[in-house]
């Protein structure tokens, strides 16, 4: 065996099932099985994982529909934990929660599906180009060679973790099968494709604490609630507030090297849409298809529930694999609430004592462990690389005090809260400035200053201040009417509207506006802030607020869509015209 984890043991003898309740199966006669070991159940050889052991009896979590499984059916230990095959051929493809390729699977995923499909695609051939030299001492994580043509980024074959030593044999340049042997390091074989336990984090040399932004192309995020590379962030909001749309926008436009999109218990049509869209869209950074930098893990809401629980780990494991090659990877998990529900469902079937709202007591530690796998690191091979996690939270009833939301808030660096009223008014992305936070904003402001934008922090602070003030005045205006407010405050109300509609709202369907560069975003914010200043100056020299409100702000509101995604100069030109108009008011 080439298993790197060393966790493989000789399988113990076959047991028999004694209880079946949906995905919960109990089996006896299993003295010697290990926690986390995979067993195969019944004639269909359904895979199931050991989650509890009592005497010779084991509680198993089944990853497939257990229909037809009987008491007394065989439970065959496999001797190893649930593993995935990590190698070339992940990018551009879709997998289920157990990391089995969906591309070669049948139209209807019936229970008769083979459990060993993880080995499918083994017939694929790849060109291996060696880069290390026989006789060298190689460390774990060091590059042995590359595989061209395996997606948008160069695929690097690395020495597996825990494998360092003298390189005694290396394959020559040429075609290899997925399971072929590429090198021998200190007497151990290294294969082109590595088998790795899905739940286990891949090791790194060290974690970094300095920050650099992940550019998302969404102004409300990049300008107000930025996310750092390697940070964990969550987006929360009731249904219909546009979570999935925002996540898809980030997946399309953020400047990461690799995207892992995990559809965890979500809609099938959405996954079809992602697959369609990403296959069609061009990646502005590489000129290739967006799909070529993307791996999709799809476990839709009607697929087996416990595979949904696993899909989150499968996704982050794939991201860590690319991180270890030296890339910035982003995992988008939609939705972590469905994952938490799978945990709850199973805990309840086991009869565990529930904590809040029926969720198991270890929900917080499970969520923390997941989000902590995000990070900017030095890899074993010495690369500076990162895994950024963007998790969606779907609070029942839009209630932000429910357990998954409140626990998630504690462990993420940024939280983007979507607001139903903004969504109703078709203000997308409906990220609300009041309920969102970005703990890395200060560090990222320093980064922006070093890059030459010293105004970044001040611009952000002013915008947040106007938005908060405009909200306060709007509720006041609802009582007394906007016309009763003093001129200065009416300008702030107008400024709030301009910020919301001209800067924060973004049209995902517009070619000019779907994404936005840092320069254009800064220019748009400058445009609005300059207009607000000019209006204040107008009020100060005696222009009535009514006259100011009568100014046609259409050019400001249309600016984002009128100029290209990086056209800061186009925005600046609009600014000059607007300032002239407002300056001319008497």
């Amino acid at each position: 065996m080439d298993v790197v984890s060393g966790s493989t043991s000789a399988p113990v003898g076959q047991g028999r099932t004694v209880r079946v309740s949906g995905p919960l199966v109990e089996a006896g006669g299993l003295a010697g099985v290990t926690m986390g070991e995979i067993l195969h159940l019944g004639a269909g050889r359904i895979s199931a994982e050991v989650v509890a052991i009592e005497g010779d009896r084991a509680t198993l979590q089944a990853y497939e529909y257990t229909g037809g499984l009987r008491v007394g059916d065989p439970a065959q230990p496999s001797g190893r934990p649930l593993t995935g095959l990590f190698g070339p051929g992940l990018l551009g493809r879709a997998f289920d929660g157990l990391m089995r390729p969906l591309t070669d699977a049948p139209v209807w995923l019936g229970p008769e599906r083979s459990v060993e499909a993880a080995d499918a695609g083994a017939e694929a051939r790849w060109r291996f180009v060696p880069s290390a030299r026989v006789g060298d001492t190689v460390r774990e994580g060091e590059m042995l060679g590359t595989v061209p043509g395996a997606g948008a980024v160069e695929h690097r074959v690395m020495v597996p973790a825990g494998h360092g030593g003298t390189l005694t044999w290396l394959a020559e340049e040429g075609e290899l099968g997925t399971r072929d042997h590429v090198a021998t390091v200190a007497g151990r074989e290294v294969r082109l494709t590595e088998r790795w336990p899905l739940r286990r984090p891949r090791p790194v040399r060290e974690r970094h604490s300095d920050v650099a932004p992940l550019h998302t192309g969404q102004r409300v995020l990049d300008l107000l609630f930025p996310v750092a590379r390697g940070a964990a962030t969550a987006v929360t909001g009731g249904f219909g507030t546009g979570k999935t749309m925002l996540l898809q926008q980030i997946a399309k436009w953020c400047d990461a090297d690799v995207i892992v999109y995990v559809g965890c218990g979500e809609r099938g049509n959405e996954m079809a849409d992602v697959l369609d869209d990403f296959a069609r869209l061009v990646d502005a950074r590489t000129g290739g298809r967006l799909m070529d930098r993307t791996v999709v893990v799809a476990n839709t809401s009607n697929m087996p529930m416990m595979a949904r629980e696993l899909s989150i780990y499968t996704g982050i494991g794939i991201a860590e694999y690319y991180r270890d090659m030296g890339y910035d990877a982003v995992v988008i998990a939609d939705s972590t609430s469905r994952w938490a529900e799978a945990l709850r469902e199973f805990a309840n079937r086991r009869g565990e004592l529930p904590a809040e709202e029926g969720f198991p007591a270890d929900l917080a530690s499970e969520l923390a462990a997941f989000y902590e796998r995000a990070g900017r690191v030095t890899t074993l091979g010495g690369h500076d690389a990162s895994v950024t996690v963007v998790g969606a939270v779907s609070p029942p009833g839009g209630d932000l005090s429910e357990p998954v939301t409140t626990i998630t808030q504690r462990f993420v660096r940024s939280m983007w809260t979507l607001d139903r009223d903004l969504a109703y008014a078709r203000h997308y992305p409906a990220v609300h400035w009041g309920g969102s936070f970005a703990r890395d904003a200060e560090g990222l402001a320093r980064w922006q200053a070093v890059q030459g934008d010293a105004e970044w922090a001040a611009r952000r602070a002013t915008a947040l201040e106007i938005l908060a003030e405009a909200d306060r005045l709007a509720s006041l205006a609802e009582v007394i009417g906007v016309n009763s407010l003093p001129g200065r405050e009416r300008v702030i109300v107008l400024g709030g509207r301009l910020l919301r509609e001209a800067v924060l709202a973004q049209n995902a369907l517009s070619t000019n506006d779907a994404t936005c560069s840092d320069r254009k975003g800064a220019a748009l914010l400058d445009l609005v802030l300059a207009c607000v200043d000019a209006c204040h100056a107008g009020v100060a020299r005696g222009v009535t607020a009514t006259a100011i409100e009568a100014v046609d702000v259409g050019p400001v509101l249309r600016a984002a869509q009128a100029v290209g995604p990086d056209d800061a100069d186009g925005v600046a030109a609009i600014r000059e015209r607007m300032l002239a108009t407002i300056g001319g008011l008497r």
Binding site: V20, V71, G238, F239, G240, G268, S301, E341, G397, E478
Partner: protein, 479 residues
């Protein structure tokens, strides 16, 4: 057909149970709809079973196996069963039904037994009622509109072929009127449009209304009616939508039809699920509903869609009443998380005499941007819809202000927004319950309402489109 089943008011059963079966008589417990039978070694999980009692054959599913005991959920309930006088026969396979075009034009009860005096339905093919998950990579993303003929839906929350779009209502609102209007008149560009209408726990008066409203489409063989009445067994409601979807999937993906499945009322369904969960003494999540309600509802709603390389589609319109009008209640909430949008009915609009009383701002069709606009409906559709909704959101603020300060104290712009809202409600929303409008008519009505606003307020529509589409006379009248 099972031996011993007969056409009584408990109905015939269209399931075929193959082979001879051992009778299990060792009933050890009964609890609500659950029956625990011993000596059941060799029975598989999720198998279907016949429960033969003195008064006829009932039908069940295996929910749990523990040692030699099997827990069976009985769709007709366990009332009247005495432990010593019942045979349980397991089928050796999951519940399957006959599928095929033979269902079209038929009226059946919630278990698929004919209510129209016709023969039992045979199709020559059997399909499991639970269906199988569709491989996500084999799904075709929905792209073409279903034209319901209802202006407010077609214009603002376009239904797309292969979508699931629920109607959220409140007891007393005309959701059944709207659902039957859609079921009776919806069409799409495909050649065969078919409808499966499943009634869950409706009163006999409502059932009579549904039969009457859908009579024409039933008579032309385009519609299947499955009727579970309020006094029919509650647990049967767990089965009825699965029958409807199994029939629909076959018509769509094997016969190539575009099938619309309307299910009303899903709140009754969820209560049946809760009843079983309570009988199993499971730990509840919210309001007594089990934690798996999301997955359970998804196993129904996710059966909509289209399949790559095949004609046909399944579009699902579930109807549900929100208890006490609460959209955060678990049933509408979980439904909203699964479906691709929602159509919300508003008591305020109904009180103002608007039919259909659709709360346009609370309603949303997530797939609209794929199914409407250039090449799908009309080039101006998406822009005009966005403008109508944005202006309505603004009009709502004006209305709130008017309530505080009085309409006479409003500024000119606010007054124009109020006029716009009235024009929209009268011109676009208001519609007869047997009136079917074309899409062109619908969109032109939207433009006429927008024309009541000052032109500089229409910032969401490109200038050239305004020139082309905005009705001239109103624009001049308002300067």
């Amino acid at each position: 057909m099972t031996a011993g089943s007969r056409a009584t008011d408990t109905g015939t059963w269209t399931v075929t149970l193959a082979g001879t079966r051992v009778a299990h008589r060792d009933v050890r417990a009964m609890r609500g709809p659950l029956l625990v039978v011993g000596g059941a070694a060799g029975v598989g999980w999720d198998e279907s079973a016949d429960v033969v009692a003195a008064d006829g054959v009932r039908h069940g599913l295996v929910l749990e196996l523990d040692g030699d005991e099997a827990t069976v959920q009985v769709f007709e309930g366990t009332a009247g069963i005495a432990p010593g006088a019942v045979d349980v026969r397991f089928a050796g396979q999951p519940l399957r039904i006959e599928v095929g075009p033979g269902w079209l034009g038929r009226v059946c009860n919630g278990r698929g037994a004919p209510l129209d005096g016709g023969p039992p339905i045979t199709g020559g093919r059997l399909a499991p009622v639970t269906g199988s998950p569709l491989n996500p990579v084999e799904r075709e993303a929905p792209h073409e509109p279903v034209v319901t003929g209802v202006s407010v839906i077609d214009a603002l929350t376009t239904l797309v072929r292969g979508q699931k779009l629920p109607i959220f209502s409140v007891a007393g609102l005309p959701h059944l009127r709207l659902a039957t209007q859609i079921a009776a008149h919806a069409t799409c560009a495909g050649e065969q449009f078919r409808v499966v209408f499943a009634a869950l726990g409706l009163t006999h008066a409502d059932i009579a209304y549904v039969r009457d409203r859908l009579e024409e489409r039933t008579a032309t063989g385009e519609l299947v009616l499955l009727l579970n009445a309020a006094d029919d067994p509650a647990i049967e409601r767990i089965l009825t939508p699965r029958l409807a979807l199994t029939v629909a999937e076959h018509l769509a993906f094997e016969e190539g039809a575009d099938v619309l499945v309307v299910v009303s009322d899903m709140t009754n369904y969820a209560e049946a699920v809760r009843e079983v969960s309570a009988a199993r003494r499971e730990i509840p999540a919210r309001r007594g509903y089990p934690g798996y309600l999301y997955s359970d509802l998804a196993s129904l709603y996710e059966r909509c869609g289209r399949v790559r390389g095949r004609d046909g589609s399944v579009t699902v319109v579930p109807v549900l009443t929100m208890p006490a009008g609460d959209i955060t209640h678990p049933v509408p909430d979980l439904t909203g998380y699964i479906t691709e949008g929602q159509i919300v009915l508003s008591p305020e609009l109904a009180a103002r005499g608007v039919y259909p009383p659709v709360d346009t701002l609370g309603s949303l069709s997530r797939l609209m941007r794929h199914g409407a606009g250039p090449g799908r409906t009309r080039d101006d559709h998406l822009d005009v819809a966005a403008q109508v909704l944005a202006a309505l959101a603004r009009a709502r603020q004006s209305a709130a202000l008017a309530e505080l300060v009085g309409a006479s104290a409003l500024g000119e712009t606010d007054r124009r927004y109020l006029a716009y809202r009235d024009a929209l409600e009268r011109g676009l929303l208001q519609q007869g319950d047997d009136e079917t409008r074309t899409l062109d008519d619908t969109l032109d009505r939207a433009w006429r309402a927008l024309a009541t606003l000052p032109r500089q307020e229409l910032t969401m529509v490109p200038t050239d489109m305004l020139e082309r589409r905005l009705p001239i006379d109103e624009e001049e009248a308002h300067g």
